[in-house]
C-alpha cells in the first residue's frame, strides 16, 4: 500500500485524491493524536496520507470584493498575525491549543475535524462562512453549517479537498467572545460563546449568536436572531429573560471528561445574558 503522497501542487493533490482512497493531512495536530498508538510508536492509518500542509495554493489570505478568502492551509499562528482577520476571530484563535501547536495546526484542519469544540467554528457559523471544496473535476461552495453534519462528520467527498474559507470583510460594531476552559489556552473548550451585533440609531440592525461545545454541532438560530433584529436596544434589557428562554432548549451539552452538562448549559446561558446586557449598556 502507498504510505503517503506529497504532491507538488494542488492539481497533483486532487489528481491523487480522485484515484486513491486517502486521508488528507495538513498540520496533523488532530490526526496524529487520534491515530496515536503510544510511547515511541508511529500512528496507524488505514489509508494512505495525502500531505497538503505545504501547498502554496492553500496558504494565502486575500481580501477581494469585501470578502476575505482564507486558504485552508493557513496556520493558526499566521491568522493571529494577519491584519486581514477580524479581531474577535483572532481572539478565539489565540486561545486555541498552545503556540507550538498553533505553529503547525491549520484552519482547514479545525473545520474538517468537525469537533463540536472546534474553536474556529462558532465565528465561522456566525458570519455565514462559505467553504470552497475542490475535486479534480469540479468546485463547489457550501456554507460551513451545511458542510458539518455531525460531530466529526462532514460532507467532504472522497475526491475533494477543502481549499478556501470565505468570510465577509466586515467588522461588527459589537463583538464578544468568551471561552470557558480549564486553563487558559491549551484546553479544549467546555463552552464558548460568540456574539456579534450592529447597532444603528439605537436599534439592533444585525445580530449573530453562536454557541460552541454545547450540542452535537455549533448552535445558531436565525429565527431567534430575527426576533431580536430591529428591536431598540432599550428594549433588549427587558427582553433578556425571554431570549435566554428561547435559546435554552437548543443548548444540549453532554457530560464528558471536560465538564458536566449542567455546568455547560448554565455558563453558556450566562454568557448570552452578559452579551445581551452589554448591548443595552
Amino acid at each position: 500500500m502507498v504510505e503517503g503522497f506529497r504532491p507538488a501542487d494542488l492539481r497533483e493533490a486532487l489528481e491523487f485524491r480522485s484515484q486513491h482512497p486517502s486521508i488528507p493531512i495538513a498540520g496533523g495536530t488532530d490526526l496524529m493524536v487520534q491515530k496515536a498508538r503510544g510511547f515511541a510508536l508511529k500512528p496507524d492509518f488505514d489509508k494512505p496520507l495525502l500531505f497538503i500542509g505545504h501547498l502554496p495554493d492553500l496558504q494565502q489570505i486575500i481580501v477581494e470584493n469585501r470578502q476575505v478568502h482564507i486558504g485552508a492551509g493557513v496556520l493558526l499562528s499566521d491568522l493571529i498575525k494577519s491584519d486581514k482577520i477580524p479581531a474577535v476571530f483572532k481572539e478565539a484563535i489565540s486561545l486555541m491549543a498552545s503556540p507550538p501547536s498553533r505553529n503547525i495546526a491549520t484552519i482547514g484542519g479545525n473545520i474538517c475535524n468537525a469537533s463540536p469544540a472546534g474553536d474556529t467554528l462558532p465565528y465561522l457559523y456566525a458570519v455565514d462562512a462559505i467553504l470552497v471544496l475542490k475535486s479534480s473535476q469540479a468546485e463547489r461552495k457550501i456554507p460551513v453549517g451545511v458542510f458539518i453534519t455531525n460531530p466529526g462528520k462532514t460532507d467532504l467527498a472522497s475526491d475533494e479537498i477543502l481549499t478556501e474559507i470565505i468570510i465577509p470583510d466586515k467588522k461588527f460594531g459589537v463583538s464578544y467572545y468568551r471561552k470557558v476552559g480549564t486553563r487558559k489556552g491549551m484546553s479544549l473548550s467546555k463552552a464558548s460563546f460568540t456574539g456579534l451585533a450592529d447597532i444603528e440609531n439605537s436599534n439592533v440592525t444585525d445580530i449573530r449568536i453562536a454557541f460552541g461545545s454545547v450540542a452535537p454541532t455549533i448552535v445558531r438560530s436565525r429565527k431567534i436572531e430575527a426576533s431580536i433584529i430591529r428591536k431598540p436596544v432599550s428594549e433588549i434589557k427587558t427582553a433578556v429573560p425571554e431570549i435566554v428562554k428561547k435559546y435554552a432548549p437548543l443548548i444540549r451539552p453532554i457530560d464528558d471528561a471536560r465538564s458536566s452538562a449542567a455546568y455547560r448549559k448554565k455558563v453558556s446561558l450566562r454568557l448570552l445574558e452578559d452579551f445581551l446586557r452589554n448591548l443595552a449598556s
Partner: protein
C-alpha cells in the same frame, strides 16, 4: 518516502515511513535525546523543537511534513551565544530542577525571543503556555526568560 531536510544546520536525506513522528526520528535515528516524549499528544511541550525558527511539537509532526524544513534541536542550538545567555539566566533564576521540561522550554524561549526580543510578562506566559513543568512552579522559569531577554539585548 524519501525526505530531505536540514537538521541542526546539516542537510539530511532519510528514507522513512511518512507517518513516523519527528520526535521518534530525532530520538531514534539521530540520537538527539534532548527531545523528550512527555505526553505524545501535544499537551506538555517536552518535545518542542524549532521548525524554520518557530517552536513546534515534534510529537505531532509526521515525517511527510518536514521535507525542506530546517529543524533545530537543543543539540544544535547549544552551540550559539544566545543559548549561553539562556543557560546562564536559567541557572541564575533557578529555572531548572529535574530538567525534563527544560529542553522544550529553552526552545520555546528561543522561538519567543526571535519573534519578540523584549516580551512582557503576559507575552512570556502565553509563549510558554504549551510547556508543562512539574517542579519549578513556572515563576522561576519566567524570571529566567526575563533575565535572558535583558542580558542578551541585541542578540535577538
Amino acid at each position: 518516502m524519501k525526505i530531505e531536510f536540514v537538521l541542526n544546520e546539516k542537510k539530511q536525506v532519510i528514507q522513512v515511513d511518512p507517518v513516523s513522528r519527528l520526535l521518534d526520528i530525532l530520538r531514534e535515528d539521530f540520537e538527539l535525546t534532548s527531545v523528550k516524549e512527555g505526553c505524545g499528544e501535544g499537551e506538555c511541550g517536552a518535545c518542542v523543537v524549532l521548525m524554520d525558527g518557530k517552536a513546534v511539537n515534534s510529537c505531532l509532526i509526521p515525517a511527510g511534513n518536514i521535507e525542506g524544513r530546517h529543524i533545530l534541536t537543543l543539540e544544535g542550538f547549544c552551540k550559539t551565544e544566545r543559548y549561553k545567555i539562556i543557560e546562564e539566566s536559567f541557572l541564575k533564576a533557578g529555572s531548572v530542577q529535574c530538567g525534563f521540561c527544560t529542553p522544550g522550554i529553552v526552545m520555546s524561549t528561543e522561538s519567543l525571543l526571535r519573534e519578540n526580543p523584549q516580551p512582557n510578562d503576559n507575552e512570556i506566559r502565553d509563549a510558554l503556555s504549551g510547556n508543562l513543568c512539574r517542579c519549578t512552579g513556572y515563576n522561576m522559569i519566567f524570571e529566567g526568560i526575563k533575565l535572558a531577554a535583558e542580558r542578551g539585548k541585541g542578540l535577538w
